[in-house]
Symmetry: C2
Subunit: 163 residues, 2 copies
């Protein structure tokens, strides 16, 4: 598996992943009927950079990196990760997250923040905690989950830089 920056042409392979995650409505605050154009804007254009994990010419996962805010908050980045169904259980999310942390430092960031980790997404919470992200906030009933109704969302944060 290699991780490389996504090209414009990669979006054809990225879109089914984003569409499926959006349609499920369980982990990302995207409209469940997200259009392809809006998906491309959110995943490819709004972010600073977008990457894909690829094996044997198949895209197994993807992540973006962007500043979380500006001005005095410019040293904190935000990333989002998605794994294709065929990439599950192969360490793709871990590989993407570790890559993104190195990329964050290369791009001059000092910390990484996840603003809305849905509390019911326990696989993600456990993985991010294991990779050194601390749960620094809990937003009561901040996410309307299609199966569970209003559930809490978590804010996760990791300081990456030496100082």
């Amino acid at each position: 598996m290699i991780i490389r920056e996504a090209t414009t042409a990669d979006f054809e392979a990225i879109w089914p992943i984003v569409q499926q995650v959006a349609a499920a409505g369980e982990t990302y605050p995207y409209p469940r009927d997200l259009s392809k154009a809006e998906g491309e804007r959110l995943w490819m254009h709004v972010p600073q950079k977008t990457f894909v994990a690829e094996a044997n010419g198949r895209i197994l996962g993807t992540y973006y990196i962007k500043p979380n805010t500006g001005g005095g908050g410019s040293h904190v980045c935000n990333c989002g990760y998605m794994v294709a169904p065929e990439g599950r259980g192969r360490g793709v999310a871990t590989a993407l997250c570790e890559h993104s942390q190195r990329m964050a430092l290369e791009l001059g960031y000092k910390a990484m923040q996840f603003n809305l980790v849905i509390s019911t997404n326990q696989v993600a919470v456990r993985l991010w905690n294991k990779l050194g992200f601390e749960t620094v906030g809990r937003l009561p009933k901040a996410f309307n989950h299609p199966g569970h109704g209003f559930v809490d969302a978590l804010v996760l944060y990791k300081w990456l830089a030496e100082a």
Copy 2:
């Protein structure tokens, strides 16, 4: 003092307030050299609605309201408030915040979130706490303060709806 929706023409009076807050670099994650065009985009165009507090034809303060995220998080709004120097000590921030909570419910939101309240801005923290906002998160060193260096930022949250 009345609070009313801002018109395009109001930005001439709003801009000095936004510019001063941005230039100070102490409370908002805006570039300190924020341009007027970017200020207008951030305060007037990105938000869903923008309001002003006015007394005797002078604008004493302003706030915006917008969705904090989309999809399953669409019931949570985000607001930002700024008070002009001549509005200080006159209850303007309280009036704006109370107005914004009513407006949030009118617009169909159920909760309000402040994503980055700078921990050194104790006047704001105390006021929001007094107005029912709970500190639900602390982001370590998430803000680079011109006077204090890297300081923590707080996440504040209030559920507004009946259920």
